[in-house]
């Protein structure tokens, strides 16, 4: 009798735990391939220092990225960054990226540190994004990263899996962000809690790695443990360009007859642009329902939508135009590579001419660093969270949408259907 069919998550956890036949719900110790900590690294270090006699087991598996609150806005934060820098040098941390590099997730993928089939734990809930390259990425607390530095292992529960099949062609003005907001609105913020979300279908296969990143990143807002797109020629081309030798070495694919607790299909051709309204990511409406809401600020940034193609989309809408009077358009490129590319291609110039503020790459306003709102103000953001008070006053509002909706809205000063300017 052949072994029972398995999902991607089962196979990934079996590989990393050296065990077989793991049913969902089983708790095992896994050996993650990479431990990512962002600016929270200082919390890991302070915790490590309290552990008498502790040694770092695999410094080559540690990646630190100074992406939240960077460069330092205060002396206290400067101290945190310095602690990380000095620790990385002293302990030979394998991959240290300083405040100039950008958002951890994008940087690690661009630098070839995320590989299919491998398990990455990160001090950031949106670590689900690594599924865009067929890897198993999941968010953990800072104590868990510290414990893994010392022990090399972490407990993990084998999740149930959900399959989302995306077919059909995206209509003009509709993007992967809209697909995900629609899905989150339909399934709600705990629609995939503790689950592995596998994306399949002809549309998924057509998507670039950047677009797959948006899918896997937003899967977190369904409560997912991890997300997955099967690695194909698109992924392998990206990995090869990122300098990964033998990128399929650990690649894992779900079995054709694997068991899913939930399977659903979306026909993208039927979708309209979507907007998540305050103060929850699953409070989703079609753009037409909220068109005309007055804005004070538009933010293009975050690990969800600040990649090169996102900036290009915004620039193509703003080209030769000016943003509305009184609107603050804040653009935070996701990474240094993204920013360089946008500078080289003239995208940044177009954005600046339109009236945008370009900041250094990183998490920026999404993590509450810069771009704060006063009481009663409203921001439309391309990020992945609109929780109360995340960008300043507890009495301000955040709406989430695609870069195209953000650009169209920056031109008018109110929430605007991007199809009106794309027509």
């Amino acid at each position: 009798m052949s072994a029972p069919a398995r999902t991607f998550a089962q196979k990934a956890i079996e590989r990393a735990s050296g065990s077989t036949g793991l049913a969902p719900g089983t708790i095992v110790e896994v050996k993650p391939d990479l431990y990512m900590s962002h600016t929270a690294s200082w919390r890991c270090i302070k915790t490590f220092e309290k552990l008498a006699g502790a040694k770092i087991r695999h410094p080559e598996r540690i990646a630190m990225v100074m992406d939240h609150v960077s460069p330092a806005p205060t002396a206290q934060v400067a101290g945190h960054h310095r602690l990380c820098r000095e620790f990385a040098r002293r302990y030979g941390v394998g991959h240290f990226f300083d405040v100039n590099e950008g958002i951890a997730h994008l940087v690690l993928m661009e630098r070839g540190l995320i590989r299919p089939g491998e398990i990455i734990i990160g001090t950031d809930s949106h670590s689900t994004i690594y599924g865009a390259l067929g890897a198993f990425g999941t968010g953990v607390g800072f104590s868990e990263i510290t414990a893994t530095w010392v022990t090399g292992v972490l407990w993990m529960m084998v999740p149930e899996s959900m399959k989302v099949t995306l077919d059909g062609k995206l209509p003009p003005g509709v993007y992967p962000k809209d697909v995900m907001l629609k899905l989150i609105g339909d399934l709600t913020a705990d629609g995939a809690t503790y689950m592995s979300v596998e994306f399949e279908g002809s549309l998924t296969r057509m998507m670039s790695i950047s677009e797959r990143m948006t899918l896997c990143n937003l899967a977190m807002e369904l409560g997912a443990k991890n997300a997955f797109v099967r690695p194909d020629s698109v992924a392998y081309e990206y990995l090869t360009a990122a300098g990964v030798a033998d990128p399929s070495r650990h690649a894992l694919l779900p079995d054709a007859d694997a068991r899913y607790v939930h399977e659903l299909s979306i026909d993208a051709a039927q979708l309209a642009p979507q907007v998540a309204c305050p103060h929850a990511v699953d409070n989703v409406r079609s753009v037409g329902d909220v068109a005309g809401v007055k804005l004070d600020q538009v933010f293009v940034g975050s690990c969800a939508n600040a990649k090169y193609d996102d900036l290009l989309e915004v620039a193509s809408i703003l080209k030769g135009k000016k943003i509305a009077a009184g609107i603050r358009l804040l653009i935070t490129p996701g990474s240094r590579d993204t920013m360089k590319r946008a500078a080289d291609s003239g995208v940044l110039s177009t954005l600046i001419e339109a009236g945008a503020i370009i900041t250094n790459p990183g998490c920026g306003a999404c993590a509450g660093d810069g771009g704060a709102m006063d009481k009663g103000e409203v921001t439309l953001s391309t990020a992945n969270r609109n929780f109360r008070g995340r960008m300043g006053s507890y009495e301000s509002d955040i709406y989430l949408a695609s870069p195209a909706t953000a650009a169209a809205s920056a031109l008018t000063g109110v929430i605007t259907d991007p199809r009106e300017v794309l027509a």
Binding site: K50, A52, S143, D190, R385
Partner: protein, 171 residues
């Protein structure tokens, strides 16, 4: 602190569904990892009146998906800093649940108990026995798997790792 044998608890505060990480502890306070300092700012977006009742409480009761959002561990440690001894919810967001166990905070799932608890009730929990006592009756919750019990009883993941290291050094 050990939750192994004795019931813990006292007056509770009750919250709705989908209480997120940024409401529990706003990002601007993540420059601290001191539970006592963090506790001063816990639930700040909900206002002073709620915060006052929260710091006087021993148990937090919530609906679906408690702790959704960020991976910030301070969402669990700020509750400990405020003297919270257990969180009972209809369901937990994944990272919050991990962070609770790993910081030594009992996070218990019981939709039935939540449905029968009113804001301000006296609620007592016996983690080892899997029992929640409320003014409207006794409810049970599924016991933790063994390894999570070990971590929780050690007071969290770091004390657990510390103990393991000490045991290895003595070998």
């Amino acid at each position: 602190m050990s939750t192994e044998r004795t019931p813990v608890g006292g007056r509770c505060v009750k919250l709705d569904d989908h209480i997120n990480s940024d409401v529990i502890i706003p990002g601007r306070y993540l420059t601290s990892i001191d539970p006592l300092e963090l506790a001063k700012h816990a639930f700040e977006p909900l206002g002073r009146e709620f915060q006052d009742r929260f710091v006087a409480a021993k148990v937090v009761v919530a609906g679906r998906n408690f702790g959704c959002g960020s991976a910030r561990e301070q969402a669990a440690s700020c509750l400990i800093g405020a003297g919270i001894q257990a969180v009972i919810a209809t369901s937990f967001a994944r990272v919050f649940f991990r962070n609770a166990i790993n910081t030594g905070l009992a996070a218990l799932q019981s939709a039935e108990a939540v449905a029968h608890i009113a804001d301000g009730d006296e609620v007592f929990v016996n983690v080892a026995a899997g029992i929640i006592d409320t003014p409207r009756g006794r409810f049970s919750f599924p016991p933790y798997p063994e390894n999570l019990t070990l971590i929780l009883n050690a007071g969290g993941l770091i004390p657990y790792v510390s103990r393991t290291l000490a045991a290895e050094a003595h070998k």
